[in-house]
Symmetry: C2
Subunit: 324 residues, 2 copies
């Protein structure tokens, strides 16, 4: 018997800095209602869903904490939790977490009863601590957040969802196969992630545009879902946010790496798919039967070093040797 | 100044068991000539290029060594080496390696002067040791080969190629992000690989067909090239080989994960691309600047365990807790 979970990706259009929290929350509740009306049991919102993507600016220190949530839930988001519990729909949401004075780029997954099932803190923070001189938009996540300190903690979904093994990522994490594999090694069946990804080269330069960055985003999710034999739901905050472009392309991907649903706009949009969790079995039991096929004795460099180190150069090249 | 290397993917149609070695070698030399005529400096041949894909059968023990090369080069392949050196074109080729009685699924890369630049032995052997009862075609690589014991040794290409850092994989390795990352951590700029991939589910069953398996093959190469910011050349032996179907889809992929050239047939076919090795810099210096962004302290599971282990199940589910 298939284990079908109907999932919605709730892409959000931009949150402008001037928007009231109540306005943003009303949009999220409208998206949640749309997902629930479509019969979804789980709806996935973006990274930093309650605010604008503030790491694009160098903020005054006293302005930073205003972008963070002191608890989850809290009065400023309670209406979303209440509506979700009322409709018996779970959700993933990303937010700035302020925990005892520490700042993280965090996500939670909430069950159909309103209880928090799991929490994750973003490990792969992109960007820099110091701003790039002269650039209008920055990528300062390394300035405003600490690196996530929870590792990659998979967790079980409820019986109403057929008890999938769930994992979460946040934005840039989705490009890092190490993160996916750490969940894959826990048998993950469903990966949830939200993102805010610039529609231009976020590290400066002009080498990347909106089309290639949307392609990268989808490609990374497709291949990592395939290579870990899991479903994946990857959801954008998109569009022109405070004058800075964000890609869309929110998608639901099956364990073959096939995109089964994808947003077509840069605004608030819900796409839905019926995800048979047992579709993971083909990959997990055959091609990606890790116990049968992985060879960790040769993977040491993944742990033993951080950056890239080129191999030693031969003292004399083959060509020179031959001509000598 | 761009560092442009013109590379050819030399897809091969099937090698039937009844084909003479001289016939197969003549086809390979014709492909090499076509690549050289197109101005390519490096041509990539498939895995086990000199023979049929024999692991599909349960062989009599005395018949096994006939599919292996006792040395590389050796008289039965010397004509290919000679023509390559004459045309000043390098090549990658996969073959069964017999080394002091040990058997490996091996590849070498040969420089424009005919010298071997690097050797690799396949780490990720698919299939099984024992045949599946009742199946006409098997996948018995674990029976005929030892696991590769050289790790993932990157090496330098010659000055005539602008000295790229090169890496090799063989077939199923391309689906394993650990293998790519071990090369990525050596700054690899160009990954070469050949494959023989069944056009049906090679592990038994009917869940996979030629279309999805070709999609998987290309997807894995695209995403891993992107996530390691390198070029990749992935080359099939394709078509109906001894009654068993092999996918095609040989491709050259850039560091964005974009397919820049792809074979369209299931036969002998050469596709060529000009690969600017400096196109790797965008990824290596920004998004995939490993030194700046990797967090190995959380990747331990990749080394510490082989198979997947699910997370502990909560003793009492949230739902039960709430309803208690």
């Amino acid at each position: 018997m298939p284990r079908i979970l109907r999932i919605a990706a709730a892409q959000m259009g931009p949150n402008q800095r001037a928007d009231e929290r109540s306005t943003i929350l009303a949009r999220m509740i409208a998206l949640l209602d749309r997902a629930a009306d479509d019969g979804a049991q789980l709806v996935v919102f973006p990274e930093l869903a309650f605010t604008t993507f503030f790491p694009r600016w160098l903020l005054q220190p006293e302005d930073v904490d205003g972008y963070f949530e002191p608890a989850m839930p809290n009065p400023a988001v309670q209406a979303l939790f209440d509506r979700a519990a009322e409709r018996r729909i779970g959700f993933y949401v990303g937010y700035g977490e302020l925990a005892d004075g520490r700042h993280f780029n965090t996500s939670v997954t909430v069950g159909p009863d309103g209880g928090v099932l799991g929490k994750y803190r973003k490990v792969h923070l992109p960007g820099s601590v110091e701003p790039r001189p002269g650039d209008r938009f920055q990528q300062l996540e390394k300035r405003y957040f600490e690196y996530g300190d929870l590792g990659f903690p998979a967790f079980w979904g409820p019986k109403a969802w057929h008890e999938p093994v769930l994992g979460m990522l946040v934005c840039n994490d989705r490009r890092w196969p190490e993160a996916w594999r750490c969940y894959g090694l826990q048998g993950v069946e469903l990966m949830l992630m939200g993102y805010n990804s610039a529609a231009y080269d976020p590290n400066g330069g002009t080498a990347e545009n909106e089309a290639i960055r949307t392609f990268h985003s989808t490609l990374a999710v497709q291949a990592n879902a395939y290579m870990n034999a899991c479903w994946a739901v990857s959801v954008a905050k998109a569009g022109n946010e405070d004058g800075s472009g964000l890609i869309g392309g929110s998608c639901i991907v099956d364990p073959n790496g096939t995109v089964v649903a994808q947003a077509t706009t840069l605004g608030d949009e819900v796409v839905v798919a019926d995800c048979d969790l047992d579709a993971c079995r083909q990959g997990k039991e055959k091609m990606f039967n890790f116990a049968a096929h992985r060879r960790p004795q040769y993977y040491g460099a993944i742990i033993d070093q951080v950056g890239a180190t080129p191999p030693p150069k031969p003292a004399v090249s083959t060509e020179e040797r031959r001509s000598a």
